[in-house]
């Protein structure tokens, strides 16, 4: 049992079930990110933890105490909303201390807490302003200050960065991570941005259509996605997914694929359990960074396979160069060093790190475990 336990939780609106049997458990001090496309139920789940939405069945426990039906104010949580939800008629200072005031904290304590938080977030010079006089980033800080001042057991963040411009978003992301490391508090964070999910979390729950698709550490989610949805949702550019056939060569299983001209090629699979399944149609998943130029290949990998095929497009992105080619009728993206000697239209020797490859069953869309 962890610090925040979500046990068999479901949510229905009438006959429409929006959450199916959600099971998530995290320990104290963890950073849980709920990630998924819009409409996947992540915000609903967050609102249920907050107590803003009822629970249809199952239960949610914070620090061993079941909070079903408990008023949000008594759950010892604080929430940062997507729109910041600052009270427009109050000053920044009043906004931050409103929660303390409602909980009956005496004035001197409130002022001390305000001073502490304002200093921490570097907003001490803004305390007498109204929210309408603040920039987006400043509002964001005030919203965080309002949550921090309460010193709750669990912080809830509902897409807090999605209203900021790209640069500020990256800065605030780092600040949130710093804050988490400093305070060591449990955080539940909702986002649709898989990069935010990867960078911030200690645990990720990838959600789609009301189901938790996979719950695990960022590394587990990234390296061994449990199904095709997780594989394609997490990672940018997303994982290359190629329909291939299992073939046996020299007694070991290979993935048989074709290049742009229809020539058959083979990549040795690391998964021994596919031996004896010759002819089986599977989907081979390879991350772009596992396909490189030969010099850039991971030297620690025990299974680098070479593929000579024609380069489609090259997209230099500064730090990396993305190279597109065609395999088994699909566009494949490879991530190479910026100075890789690769020219569009010319044949090139691609190095594929098959240690990092995963295999999916095309019918169930589940990963075939090694």
């Amino acid at each position: 049992m962890g610090f925040l336990d979500i046990n068999h939780v479901t949510k229905s609106y009438g006959s429409v079930q929006v959450l199916h049997e959600v099971d998530i458990s995290v320990n104290e001090g963890e950073f849980l990110v709920l990630v998924g496309p819009s409409g996947c139920g992540k915000s609903t789940l967050l609102n249920m933890i907050a107590g803003l939405e009822g629970i249809t069945s199952g239960d949610i426990a914070i620090n061993g105490r079941v909070v079903n039906g408990m008023h949000p104010a008594r759950r010892n949580i604080a929430m940062v909303f997507q729109s910041y939800a600052l009270y427009p008629n109050m000053t920044v200072g009043q906004n931050i201390t409103f929660g303390l005031e409602m909980h009956g904290t005496p004035r001197p304590e409130r002022d001390a807490a305000l001073a502490r938080i304002a200093k921490m977030l570097q907003i001490d010079h803004l305390l007498d302003r109204k929210p309408s006089q603040l920039s987006g980033g400043q509002r964001q800080r005030v919203a965080m200050g309002r949550a921090l001042v309460r010193d709750p057991a669990v912080f809830l963040f509902d897409e807090p960065l999605s209203n900021l411009d790209a640069k500020l978003r990256v800065d605030m992301r780092t600040e949130i991570k710093k804050l988490h490391q400093r305070l060591g508090r449990t955080i539940v964070y909702v986002t649709h941005d898989q990069i935010e999910a990867m960078t911030l979390s200690t645990r990720i729950a990838v959600m789609n259509k009301g189901y938790v698709q996979q719950f695990g550490t960022p590394k587990e989610i990234y390296d061994t996605p449990t199904n095709l949805f997780v594989a394609s949702f997490m990672g940018s550019p997303s994982m290359n997914l190629l329909p291939v056939r299992v073939a046996m060569l020299n007694g070991s299983p290979h993935a048989e694929l074709t290049d742009g001209e229809g020539v058959k090629m083979h990549l040795r699979l690391g998964q021994a359990n596919l031996a004896g399944q010759e002819g089986r149609e599977v989907i081979l998943g390879i991350r772009p960074e596992a396909i490189t130029d030969p010099e850039g290949a991971d030297r620690k990998s025990g299974n680098i396979q070479h593929l000579r095929t024609r380069v489609g497009v090259t997209e230099p992105a500064g730090a990396d160069t993305f190279v597109t080619t065609t395999l088994s009728g699909k566009d494949v993206v490879a991530r190479m060093r910026a100075d890789a000697a690769v020219a569009p239209g010319a044949p090139f020797d691609f190095a594929v790190n098959m240690d990092k490859a995963v295999v999916f069953d095309p019918r169930t869309e589940e990963r075939i475990p090694a």
């Binding site: 949000p72 104010a73 949580i77 929430m79 939800a85 009270y87 008629n89 409103f98 929660g99």
Partner: protein, 311 residues
Amino acid sequence: MSTLTQEAQLARAKGPIPTPAPTQDTAVRTGRVARTFIYLVLLLFALFYLLPFGIMVINSLKPLSEITGGNMLALPQDWTIAPWLSAWSTAQIGVEPTGLRPYFLNSILMVVPAVAISTMLGALNGYVLTKWRFRGDTILFGLMLFACFIPFQIVLIPMARMLGLLGLAGTTAGLILVHVVYGLGFTTLYFRNYYAAFPTELVRAAMIDGAGFFRIFWRIILPVSGPIAVVSVIWQFTNIWNDFLFGASFAAGSSAPMTVALNNLVNSSTGVKEYNVHFAGAILAALPTLIVYVVAGRYFVRGLMAGSVKG
């Protein structure tokens, strides 16, 4: 000036000459002519609409003999405020020579609580209907809207019966009740549409902060309700102040409102008809609504737009 800028100016002068096609200049010039015309027409219409009020003011400031002499449109030869004093404090209202003063007070005593209560309840209704939604709330709101379309005459007899049962017949309190009940449909409509645009996340944030139903209303919702409150107050004030039918039906005699007293002043069938006093009385009766409009009129339009566009 350096040679460089001189050269630049020379180059600019050699550039293509602007064609005399429609430019910003001609557009402004034709606009100015059109605008003058528009202002002229508007001024004429304004004068035309102000004419009746002007006649009233003029005639309230002259002795009766000048009116009966047939000079209604002329300016007074003897300027006098006697008709105003008479209308206010000595004119015969029904059988008592009290002037309009006590009835003016009646109207104030009726309109202030009625406006305050109906506006507050409307705000509360709007808050509940948008932020504390429940099963069937839209149907309930639809039913409340019906109140806006029920003609006054229909409710006269049931209302008289109700007031009788409550022991409020013929009192100012009874009249306040009638106006609150009748105004609720409108005030609820205004506030509901206004609050529909108010972000629900703020209410949720306040809930997590530990504020309850009334605290959220009082501390979060009401402070930002200024524009729509002005709309509601003006609307309710004007309607209630100007109401004659309910006043005449439910509060006759000494608790009658201003409108009923004005009618009694003008329609008295004995003695000489003092038109100058009647004019002064009519202006007195219209003055409060006029003042409310002048003071808060621009908020009225602004608030009405905000409520309707975003709702």
